[in-house]
Amino acid sequence: MDLFKLVEVVVFPGLMYLVVLAIFFEWYKRKLVARMQSRLGPTYTGFRGILQPLADFLKLLFKEDIEVTTGDQKMLTLVLLVAPTLFIFSLFFVPVTGYTIFSFEGDLLLVLFISSIASLLLYLVGWTFRSSFTKAGAARLLLQIVGFDIAAIALALVPAFEAESLCIATISEKISSAVISNPLLLIPHGFAFILFLLAQQADLEEDPFDIPHAETELVAGYITEISGRKLAFLDLFKDLQMVYVSFFTASLFFGVIVKPLSAVLVIASSVEMFLKALLVLFILFTIEAASTRIRIYNLLDAFWKYIIPLSFFSLSLLFIIKALPGVLL
């Protein structure tokens, strides 16, 4: 591996850039949801409280590491080290700055697989403790994963088939021209986008799908027994998940318009992708601020009865539209 690649992986657009983005998105979330609820949000640390998530992270890092004796601490540490890494690794395949560090034909499936594994690791976090709150939270999380993951995978295939590629970089390049050349494709595209956002909302465990850590019932669900440094890493994990979800959705459904051919254009396309990610997050946070938690039965109903069939329906609609010219001519 040459030096340039190493700098890319560690600094930009790799590890450091992603962590900075994660912290920024956490601030964006707190501020935006606060403003949606007519509150102020963070104001104290830095300009308009922009350093508050960083301050929280550092504070948690310096706290005492309380080890609950009924939990498997080695397992927990391993999970919390591996889980953020998984998202950073899968973001190497996503065009965060308009181009990807690594890319091969079929990396879409790899990224989808890795994100499912990461969600399953959260389940392990809850399962390592012998506490009823974490157990219930973990069980709910597993049920939730079974609900949204199938829909998410089926819906991620919609742009893949539109751009006729399984490589995220190629999809993000071709998607806009593919949709413009055949405007009928906008129907399954928009349909899939909305459903995909719902599935990602369930992945992020935000309202109305914050069932695994329902605060009023389960204290904090599978996170209940975690504190100090471990909680810091868990928060980082959730923030990185936010980064992953926003950029993944943006690159699949919006694509990259500015081609990152020179250094200036790389900055231009990073700004473009950044704004698109903010837009995706804006929609997700709007849903969060406007809704209340639903019950696990409602969630399973919604996903198994409506969203999963609808996602397969939009996939088949896409095939029909794609095949139409051949049939008509």
Binding site: L32, A34, R35, M36, Q37, S38, R39, L40, T43, P208, T286, I287, A289, A290, S291, I294, N298
Partner: protein, 130 residues
């Protein structure tokens, strides 16, 4: 569930509105017009009937005798007062009025007494119409 789509426009509009939060210690307070705050006592209107002390539910009013002028006046222990303004209602001479001041915390409870200085207390003129 059905209310979520209805709420979305409100939620988006709220982003561009000013937040309702008041950062109180850093900003001047905006108490409600109906707030019942610290009571204000006017010794010149008082006749020393003691009704306020009888009616005060928390025993915050103590009547004391001022021998020099041979009359009684109330002193108010604000540390016991619960700002019900019963005394304001009951005083038919308008000697007690309510104010909107509410920042009256103190380190020492003697600071919370409303004691009228003896020089201010004038003898009552009996038969004079108020």
């Amino acid at each position: 569930m059905k209310i979520i789509p209805k709420l979305v426009p409100t939620v988006v509009k709220t982003v561009f509105k000013k937040p309702v939060t008041e950062q109180y210690p850093y900003e001047p307070p905006k108490p409600s017009p109906n707030i019942r705050g610290k009571i204000v006592y006017d010794v010149d209107k008082c006749v020393g009937c003691g009704l306020c002390a009888i009616y005060c539910p928390s025993g915050a009013i103590e009547m004391i005798m001022i021998k020099e002028v041979k009359r009684r006046i109330p002193i108010f222990h604000l540390d016991r007062c619960m700002f019900c303004h019963q005394c304001v209602e009951v005083c038919r001479f308008g000697a007690i009025t309510g104010s909107r001041e509410f920042e009256i915390a103190a380190y020492n409870k003697n600071e919370l007494k409303i004691i009228t200085p003896k020089e201010r207390v004038k003898p009552l003129k009996v038969g004079e119409k108020k």
